[in-house]
């Protein structure tokens, strides 16, 4: 088991280092991530939403549905905690007498 997890760790590390040597340079303004979608957010955020903070406007407007999902994730976690920690009358795994 110990060797298996070490093997997995080595594999993931090798894969990551192998991949990261081929990513665009750090902070390169010509990189696709900085060229394709995001410039428009910065250019138009004030004009479209009156919001100088581009993160807020992207968060709540351009990609607002992700944020709805994120709020739902928090909500799910809350309900999950209520469900898991609710005290039960019959303790543990005992199946109660079948109702008849």
């Amino acid at each position: 088991m110990k060797w298996l997890s070490l093997f997995i760790l080595g594999l993931v590390m090798a894969l990551l280092i192998y991949a990261e040597t081929d990513l665009p340079d750090r902070g390169d303004p010509e990189a696709p991530a900085n060229q394709h979608v995001s410039p428009l957010y910065l250019e138009r955020t004030v004009e479209d939403t009156h919001t100088p903070n581009a993160v807020t406007s992207v968060l709540a407007d351009y990609r607002g549905y992700d944020t709805l999902g994120e709020t739902v994730v928090i909500f799910t976690a809350g309900i999950a905690c209520v469900l898991i920690l609710m005290r039960r009358r019959s303790d543990d795994n005992q199946i109660r007498k079948p109702n008849s």
Partner: protein, 490 residues
């Protein structure tokens, strides 16, 4: 008309919140909210499938922003098909779960129903989304709901759920990492846009790593063979109404997400020729089918046997994806549908038996066939379908997989499917023998062994009837829905 895609997950979400508020006031209202939300969603999904088949794909731009900048929802035949499957199974299991939960966990019904709605919302969201990151968000909603739902069956189930949390988080985070590689290489998160920009970057090592991480992450979530370690314990100890909901659809939706990556985001040839992804998935699945089937034979606990059988059946889907030809993909997608019906039916029957008698071990089921005729008839139907006897639907997906294996000239896979049918026959006929031939065990009170109440029996019978109906109309499904989906593979 373009409203249809968004109206599939949103009723589920809204009724989850309304159900919470109503449930705080009066406990029984949560069930009504769950039922109503799922029914609306099923109606919209059905309408969506009809519209999509006649008028072509529907696109909904959330927030009114055009795709690469905003999030896009796409309803095409495949996603409408998945959404309809998820909501249908969800509705049937919800009807079943009222009695079952009142019996097993009467104090916790409100959060259980709310989490079931959120689980369904997450899964339908995965089905209809057209955005890589949005898929991650909904994947996490579905996963969190599933962790919690699986944890309430007692102390073993809590431990099983914790292991699922650890492995599931690794899976989800690997997927996020893969999306990160794609984003930093292409600059976009929209699936259609990424599909356009990716072919120029196929030589890039970052994209290869992205593929590896996405396949690993989704593989962990869908319990593809060597990554299935969380599944048997989790399904065994979960409450029966939850196992009946999660086992049929959860892993299948992640399989669908993998298919979507394979067909929509990347070109199939990238997975088939440039990288040996489909070969690896195929061979691992072939090993998984045989090993998991043998492990299923060794189990005494019916739920554990079904869990191992689930691993084997997910591996069938993996085998179809691994064959990577049109027939294989049709077989895999048809198996998603068929297996959802069969496994839901089987888990609900296991829950029904446990509801009446409290028994889970197969040898103790001796002689039940006489006392629970309808339930056991449904069990026989599902078992025959799992083995692959012609009128039932399980035969047809295996048939397409065998054809695909012959088409690809891969005799090993064909042999694996045939052998596994024999193994399936072994472990299901073992149960059938106990049920129909052996006399009732000493110590099992005869008056307890009765049909479950009508509210639980009806969903079982609906699913059993569905197995036959799907078998009969499978030609329609294949030609209308699944055949156009495999267009990129041709």
């Amino acid at each position: 008309m373009t409203y249809l895609p968004i109206l599939i997950p949103v009723p589920l979400l809204l009724f989850a919140f309304i159900g919470t508020l109503a449930g705080l006031w009066r406990r029984s209202l949560a069930y009504g909210a769950a039922l109503l939300g799922t029914a609306i969603s099923l109606g919209v999904a059905t309408a969506g499938l009809v519209v999509v088949l006649s008028e072509g794909n529907l696109h909904h731009f959330l927030g009114g922003w055009d795709p690469p900048w905003g999030i896009e929802y796409v309803l095409d035949p495949l996603s409408a098909f998945m959404a309809m499957l998820v909501t249908f199974i969800g509705l049937v299991v919800l009807i079943y779960s009222r009695q079952s939960l009142l019996h097993e966990l009467p104090e916790r019904v409100v959060p259980l129903y709310v989490l079931k709605l959120l689980l369904l919302a997450g899964l339908t969201g995965i089905a209809v989304t057209g955005d890589l990151f949005n898929l991650y968000v909904f994947l996490e909603i579905a996963s969190l709901a599933a962790y919690a739902l699986m944890a309430v069956g007692g102390r073993q189930s809590a431990m099983a759920a914790f292991r699922y949390v650890v492995l599931g988080t690794i899976g989800g985070t690997f997927y996020l990492l893969g999306v990160g590689f794609i984003y930093f290489s292409t600059g976009t998160l929209n699936m259609a846009d990424a599909a356009q920009r990716l072919p120029a970057l196929y030589e890039s090592r970052a994209i290869m790593a992205a593929v590896a991480f996405i396949v690993l992450g989704l593989g962990l979530k869908m319990a593809l063979f060597p990554l299935h370690v969380w599944l048997p314990d989790a399904y065994t100890y979960a409450p029966s109404a939850v196992a009946g909901l999660i086992a049929p659809i959860m892993t299948k939706v992640f399989a669908y997400a993998l298919v979507r990556m394979f067909l929509t985001v990347f070109q199939p040839d990238y997975f088939r020729v440039t990288l040996p992804v489909t070969d690896i998935i195929g061979w691992l699945s072939a090993a998984g089918i045989v090993i998991a089937s043998i492990l299923a034979i060794a189990q005494r606990d019916l739920r554990r046997m079904l869990a191992y059988s689930s691993v084997a059946q997910v591996a069938y889907i993996g085998l179809g994806i691994g064959l990577a030809n049109p027939l294989g993909m049709i077989g895999a997608l048809l198996h998603i549908l068929n297996h959802a019906f069969m496994k839901a039916c089987l888990f609900l029957i296991a829950g029904g038996i446990r509801f009446r008698t409290g028994l889970v071990d197969i040898p103790l089921f001796a002689g039940f066939g006489r006392l629970m005729p309808w339930t056991m008839a449904a069990f026989t139907m599902a078992a025959l379908s799992m083995v692959g006897i012609p009128p039932a639907c399980g035969f047809f997906s295996k048939w397409y997989l065998v054809l695909a294996g012959l088409d690809a000239g891969n005799w090993v896979f064909v042999a694996v499917i045939l052998i596994s049918s024999l193994l399936n026959a072994v472990y299901f006929f073992r149960v059938l023998e106990q049920v129909y031939i052996r006399p009732l065990r000493e110590g099992v009170a005869e008056e307890q062994v009765r049909e479950p109440p009508a509210e639980m029996l009806a969903p079982i019978l609906v699913l059993a009837a569905g197995i036959i109906i799907l078998g009969i109309i499978n030609v329609v499904i294949v030609t209308q829905v699944l055949y156009p989906v495999t267009e990129p593979l041709r």
